[in-house]
Symmetry: D3
Subunit: 284 residues, 6 copies
């Protein structure tokens, strides 16, 4: 069956068009000057460092929009682990079109693969056979959230709520405005679609007790000491999912997971993944 | 006078609308449930680590589009260096609107400030009184190029060509297709607007000699050993600008600059800047 | 506190622009011919039949986009019940602009109020003090889902999942493809964000038992006889929410609710609400 | 020859994209979890009640945009009358893509067919061999006017002016502002393209006389008693088209038509058509 | 009363945004480098040759979108005749913003005024007191039709049908396909909204007779010799409007008008108007 | 090799969609009424006067978007000189689709060919074997700049900077604000990307001397008498490119070129090119 939920092409087609127009302007004047339109070639995209591949559909779409004469052949799938030097895909067709699309295609795949790779690192830090999830946050690049959430899935992570409509997440300000955890959860329950869980952030063991009593579906432990997590998990006793969030480092992951929490949400897998090195080289 | 070329609001207004719609969906159900529409508040955006501020206009635009009743007051300007704890700006008005815009505003300003901060680090690594520029590349986030180029300027860097139409940059494939550096430069000269300079990438001292002889305006030294740079600069002798590119680390910057090159272009200031920590906290 | 979650203006601004351009074309030639641009007037939007008002923000936006000189004053709020003849709002300013926006404004408010009114009828059919919700479905008008879901909330109803990403709803085809209810729920659990509940449609008491055992958060009873509902609810015994769907008539609502189900989802509150009669008349 | 003027694909392509993005979000997580991408199937769209089919091009476009591997085969044409149980079209290809597009496709075709069906009911109420037209109004769903006008044509109805630019329609406010029917018509004549007819709404026999004398091309009788229509038609004596509008019920149609009027315009064929029952079922 | 039907701002707002983005890119680097953001100034737009002014709303919109601090004051109205040297409007505010918007504003107003001016020349060539109209055609610049039709009105001309939906115009191919004028007109009558007139192009006196007999509302005489026009007009005898089209020169206008035709449609008033000289100069 | 830099399809696809929607509205009612959908035909686009062909890709795109069954075959290439009567391209397929796209296709190709033709006239006025370029300006039609710049290239001309971001052009206001030519050039140098040349407009021989001394890459001589140009060129002595601009007539071109200037920029090749006569006729 499917390994990850892929993104429908309709969700990124306009994005690719905009990215191409951003980079091409009204045409690549260097390539037009130097490369004969009839000239063809074959180029390979290879990993230049170990990485989790992500974004092959974007590469395909970039070249499809530029020139239907370019053929993109994938050697590997999104989510695959590539060693340095391994080939991810091949791009063959008019040389000018390949040169014109190269940068945009790489800009997508380098960033998405970086997120998948960083997510995989966090997932790999989990103890084996543990059911704890690594999840993303809303700290994504504006306009690229769907792509970045997909990259997280390719890295073995899970997604948090998609946006502010998709689920309830009660934070300190909401609690303060409602006069307490119980009231906030009750109000949220009244408004939320019955298909959404109610997550409540708690800052202390007392708030945790109240949140559970008020029927929170998920409790998000905010800045709890790692040492106190087992006690918190024991207190919840399966009545809610337990999520831990806030400045999660790779080192903390096994500790937090060992405490039995259900979800560790990590902003840095999207906001600080940077770029991995994938290059396009012409095949001789 | 102006410190940097700012971006016209018209160039990012639609981007902010799209980012807000991406995050808000059809409404923030948690805030709607818990926060009274009449309730007001004041929140402060502060640096939580030392950073170069960038993106205040985006913060302003986010809240302007959400609710004209929110007032954004900037304490500091884009390009300013902030210490951890310093306040960048204040957001005051309806509490619900502030909560609804918080994440999008931070997503912009954290990324843009990270680019400005990383650029500043490279600029600071230049020897004092040297005229070498740190420049960006086309390795920017799709759809955010204008913002990221601006962030580079805020960090004290300079921009490279905006897109494939804006200037000529002859690379190895172009040279190969034209049968040599001279022919490529001549062809490019014929096509390029007279307002654009011709940059030619060279891979050896021989190609450098040819490129200068063919009248390149800028020569881009590709993977030259640092030790050979002074000789290359001497060979050019002011007849063209000298640009160095490729895997530039902070450590190499003073060495390269000391060789007398004009431009060091650094992909990582945009593609690997990640995010700096700026937080929005409610003022008591 | 807030009665309903309102829609952010950013979510319907472009929609109103498109609607105005659709109706105005390149200008209202009749009004331009006949009405002096300096002429002003005051018009009132009144209910011509009993209805639940919905869409006042759209009316405001229509006139704001057309002419900032038009002032819209709301006498009543979205969600209010109006008797025939009651005034909902007043529009004052340049007569030409009022005439130009009239039809678009009414097209929005008549449809949204119809949905709110129809929803209210279903909500009113619930026994008093019962906790059963009336919920909408994805059977909304293309491009108007956010507005129609809002109208449902104004009528006292609740929303179902916003779209196919927001939550899991396992239907017969999914069950068949997975080889059974248990396997489908397990697969869904693996993929779904932890913030989303898992709803599973069941077609028989046996499937219901399996779904509960497999840990469904919500069970949707598909075409169950009303008479069998109490037994189904008893069987679930609070381990999941119980939703009933499919050809729900006003008459069935109290029967279904009395069985103790949690949610009744009704496609017709959006797809067959039609239009209620609200008219714009000039005040003498 | 053609039975009705079809809509060019270019006029609804972007609409379908927007509708798909509205419903799919960043992907159908249930289908992705449960349905293997390689699995194929065949589903049939059948009428579940008697109806006039409309919107097959939209169904085709929905699946074309989602997945070019889905083949839509139409058994019947737009405008055809289907009995309950008759098959309208077949959709074959990847099962996941069919499930992902099902709701959007049905949302279009159920609404458009409802309008065609309701229009047909009004057309069928006309006496045989009469030349009276049933026409729509501008009371259409925002953004869907082109589709709804097409549905009216499929039901055997005719379209009124497309928008406020396409033709002149003088109403009471225009008359009042111009100081009378004659002046309003004259002003309108001066401004209108010579390709547009001038319609003037009249509220009394006196105004009708004036409008005819002033050269109106069409007179719209507003709230005239049915009994007085023959006299009005006789008075016009073929010098203008006679249109009747306002709260037209099916029962009044034969009476009004018998009076010899040319056009009966009916808002409810678009604004209150609701939805007809067409379902997609998997073929065994 | 109004002299011409103006275009609603909503119809050109997005156009101005696109035009500004086209010209500004990600910012005017020259102005940013040289002009202090605090510096203010006042500039005047003056005619540098005699012209009919058109496009002041576009100038206003350009600067409004760029900088709400720029104030545009119109000395003259659209449709006014200006002598060389006369001031059309004044633009005051931040000097940088004025420089940034100058070219886009002038590009609009120079083209629109050229169309108005050329139209006025044709209108002025009509004999005094004649009722013949000068009308435009669909030979307009792609995407600027609404603006160009407005410019025609400002020059004293009239508009033809707005687009292919707005009215019927039967040409030779349509006639051939239908097997003759009569059949084509009858088919067209069946399909056309009752608010639209039917225009039929005729190529001979025989076709003219047939078209009139078939009830054409407008007959368009295609390439009729000027000398034969009086006979054609006499033959029509007021039963239809008479339109003359095809390679209309200024010299032919009085001759054609004297024949008593109703409409002369002239492609060149839009497609060959070019640009008139209006300049922006800084006021000392 | 390539004769001119062509525009990527991605840069004009949305433009063609918008142009088609502008002209088609919700459908060509005349063609729908009169032309059978099954009917096919073949039409030819021929020059009706001598012209330089430009815009064949736009014609292809228009028909591709309308109906993939229409086949466009180009007999000649963009940039070719056609005599009156020569065939440019053939359009074959469904007759209705050809009629529906005819006007939009011609509107593009007639304008673009007019620009190419006018540009060729200026280029042809240059002395043989001279290296002087004819260049365009930013005086292009809003939203069509990329197409018009391409047409200039097809006519043998060159492009100036694409927009305000692409290069520096210092004008009188910039000089005044900076307190002189030297300061303006220095400031510009600091801000400009190193890939862009610095052009400085000069109004006198003195300013020219200063600009050269300050290191301008291009000097634009503003309103210099033709007689003084040789002296100016001699003074520059190859240290910068010399551009002449302002009210350039065909007659002045050989004189200016003979003075040895590098670039003559001509606004009228875009803003006053009008339209050339290319017609679509049905092949028997």
């Amino acid at each position: 069956m499917n390994r990850v939920v892929s993104i429908p092409r309709i969700a990124f087609r306009a994005l690719v068009t905009a990215a191409l127009n951003e980079d091409l302007g009204s045409g690549d004047i260097t390539t037009a000057a130097c490369i004969d339109r009839q000239s063809t070639g074959r180029a390979e995209v290879r990993a230049r460092e170990p990485l989790v591949l992500c974004g092959t559909d974007l590469v395909r779409e970039v070249f499809l929009q530029l020139d239907t004469g370019v053929v993109v052949t994938c050697d590997r799938l999104d989510g695959d682990l590539l060693e340095a030097g391994e080939r991810a895909l091949t791009v063959a067709g008019p040389a000018a079109s390949i040169l014109e699309g190269e940068r945009v295609a790489l800009n997508f795949v380098q960033r998405m693969s970086a997120i998948a790779t960083r997510t995989r690192a966090f997932v790999s830090a989990l103890p084996s056979n543990c059911r704890t999830r690594i999840a993303d946050t809303r700290k994504t690049t504006p306009l690229l959230r769907a792509l970045e959430r997909y990259a997280v899935r390719c890295g073995g992570g899970h997604n948090h709520r998609e946006n502010l409509t998709a689920a309830i997440l009660i934070k300190d300000n909401h609690i303060a405005a409602c006069g307490g955890v119980r009231s906030a959860i009750e109000r949220a329950r009244t408004f939320a679609p019955h298909t959404s869980r109610i997550t409540c952030e708690v800052a202390s063991m007392d708030e945790l007790v109240t949140a559970i009593a008020a029927g929170a579906d998920v409790v998000m432990l905010d800045n709890f000491e790692d040492a106190i997590l087992p006690e918190a998990v024991a207190l919840v006793a399966g009545r809610a999912l337990v999520e831990v969030s806030g400045r999660i480092s790779l080192e903390r992951v096994p500790v937090i997971a060992a405490a039995g929490v259900d979800v560790i949400s990590v902003g840095s897998i999207t906001h600080s993944a940077g770029s991995v090195d994938l290059g396009l080289d012409w095949a001789s």
